[in-house]
Structure formats: C-alpha cells, structure tokens
C-alpha cells in the first residue's frame, strides 16, 4: 500500500461542526487528492454505513453497493460540498438517500408477501425427525439417545469462542434463504425489535417469527456441526 501522510486525524476533523478551521483544512486535503485522508474516512465509516444501509435493503450485497455508491457520490460531489454541516453528517445524508431509493426499488421486486407460498423455506421440521423417537416408542416424539443435543462448551457467544466458529456462523448466515437471512440479520445481528422488523419489511408478526425461527434453527444446526466436529475427535482446545 502506498504510504502517504494523512496529517491530523481526518475522522476527528470530519465530525466537527461545519465551518470549523479543522474541517476546512480536511476538505482542502481531500480536494488536493490526499489518498490517506480519504482512506481513513472509508475505513472508519464503512462499517457503520453498511449497518445503516442494511436496514433499508434486503441483502448484504445490496448494502455493499449502496455504500460504494455513497462513496462514489462523495468523491464526485466533494468539490461542491459547502461545508455547512460536518462532513460526516453530509456523508450519512447521502447514504440515507441512496439506501432509501434502493430500498423502495427492492421492496417492489422482493415479494415478501409470498414468503409462504413458495414452499421450500416455509415448511417442514427444523430438526431432523430421525433424532426423535418414533410413534411406537414409549416416549413418542422424545429425543432418541443418539439424537439429543449436548451442551456447547464454551458457548458460541463467549469471548473465548474460536474465530473458526464465528467464521462458520457468518458463512451460514450468508447462506440462509434471503428472507430468513434478512430477518435474522435485522433482529439478531443488528438488534432491531420485532415491531421494527415487521414495519420495515411489511411482514406480519407471525410470519416474522416463522422466518426468525427457521433461520435461527438452521444456524443452530450449523454450530452444532462445528462443535461436534471439534469435540468429537480428541480435544478441541489447546
């Protein structure tokens, strides 16, 4: 990576009120093509921009495009920015506009109302029926000895959890059917309430819970596979 001094923190200057000398100085550096200063802003703000974008659009890929379009708009409009607000406020306003336009376009093309008419992702048990006792058993529908779950140690939310498990969870999340993934992302990754999710996606509370349930159950199974693979053969840590 080419080395270039970005000077005083671009991020610090970019949150200052419009019209401040530090902001004017930052704008000057950006307009003069200071790549390091621009990179600093991109690296510092893209995670938050992605999170905000994700709330408007239905996929992580769309959110990435919205954020890239936002930065492209920032680059193109940099010379026209009058500096009345902070640079950060301006950038996030561009993002909101981009994301909203895109979200409106998508909500027309993503048929949320048809969630449960397309079969595959809305039906069937979420746990392999083979793990339960059959109808002739003394305890029909109970866990079979080989099928019952065993505790996860340490639990996956533990800080000590292996990076491998986190990677696996991320991958499994990305592979969920789109609607399940969106609901799980908004609820569990971003922490939105069920009301917010229903409103944003135009879902009924019941359908939202089904998608959440099916998505989480699938992710649980993936985590279970990881724990089984790592504890099954000898020790898993150290």
């Amino acid at each position: 990576m080419p080395q270039q001094e970005s000077g005083p923190s671009a991020v610090a200057a970019a949150v200052l009120e419009g019209g401040s000398p530090a902001q004017a100085e930052l704008l000057e550096r950006l307009r003069a093509g200071n790549r390091a200063a621009f990179a600093e802003l991109v690296d510092a703000w893209s995670p938050m921009l992605l999170r905000v974008a994700r709330c408007h659009v239905s996929t992580a890929a769309s959110a990435e495009e919205v954020v890239q379009d936002t930065w492209l708009a920032v680059i193109r409009q940099l010379d026209r920015f009058e500096g009345r607000s902070s640079l950060r406020t301006w950038v996030f306003r561009i993002l909101e506009n981009q994301a909203r336009t895109r979200g409106v376009r998508e909500s027309r093309s993503v048929p949320w109302s048809s969630v449960f008419t397309d079969g595959a992702e809305g039906h069937g048990p979420t746990v392999d029926p083979g793990r339960f006792r059959g109808p002739e058993d003394r305890w029909p529908g109970g866990w079979s000895p080989a099928g019952r779950p065993t505790a996860w140690e340490p639990p996956p939310e533990d800080a000590a959890m292996a990076a491998e498990i986190r990677r696996e969870l991320r991958t499994a999340l990305d592979e969920l059917p789109a609607r399940q993934r969106t609901v799980v992302e908004l609820r569990d990754v971003h922490g939105l309430s069920s009301d917010e999710v229903c409103e944003r996606l135009g879902l009924s509370p019941g359908n939202q819970r089904i998608l959440l349930h099916r998505g989480r159950a699938r992710l649980r199974t993936r985590l279970e596979d990881v724990y089984r693979a790592t504890t099954g053969e000898g020790e898993r840590r150290g």
């Binding site: 621009f38 890239q68 069937g124 048990p125 019941g206 959440l212 349930h213 279970e224």
Partner: protein, 99 residues
C-alpha cells in the same frame, strides 16, 4: 402456522408437549408470544427434560453469538476501487473534470 406440531391434550385435559414439538415452539417461547396454557406445558416439560433445556439454551446462544459477529466491512477490492476513483478525480487538480 400450520406446520407447527400442535401440543396434544392429555387425558386430564392439560396440554403436554413432546421434545419434537418443543423444538418448533422454542422461538415463540423466547419471543413470549405463546398462549398461557402452552407456556405452562413447556415449563412442565423443561422441568423434566434436560436435552430440551440444552436445545433452548443453544437457540438463545445462537442469537447471542450473532450479536458478536465482527462489523461488516467493504471487501478489499471495492475499497481499492474507491481509492482509485478518488485519485483519478482528485489526484491531479488539472485533470479534474469541470464537475
């Protein structure tokens, strides 16, 4: 929700829940949206069934682990592209488009 197995009424008319049914009710249980009689049946079931307690804990854990995923970032090629466009437009003042 037609696909959820319905808890059955036992002889004395109280609901009972089998493990196989519990695993499909677990999210509604966590959300607190089940009717009171189903909640009572689940509480009674969990008192006696350690594997279902573990299953419940794993579903809770799965949701909690999702909160710990690292913040999303732009893929490195996208980042590089943006820096390239930035340099192309602002790198040399005399090359800048009039816009």
């Amino acid at each position: 929700m037609a696909e959820l197995p319905a808890p059955r009424s036992a002889a004395d008319d109280t609901l009972t829940v089998a493990c196989r049914e519990f695993v499909e009710l677990v999210t509604e249980h966590l959300e607190g949206t089940l009717p009171a009689d189903v909640e009572r049946a689940i509480a009674a079931h969990l008192e006696l069934c350690d594997p279902c307690v573990i299953y419940l804990e794993q579903m809770r854990s799965t949701a909690a682990a999702l909160r710990t995923l690292p913040a999303p970032t732009l893929p490195p090629p996208a980042r590089e592209r943006l820096l390239g466009v930035f340099s192309a437009l602002h790198g040399r003042p005399e090359d800048r488009p009039a816009d």
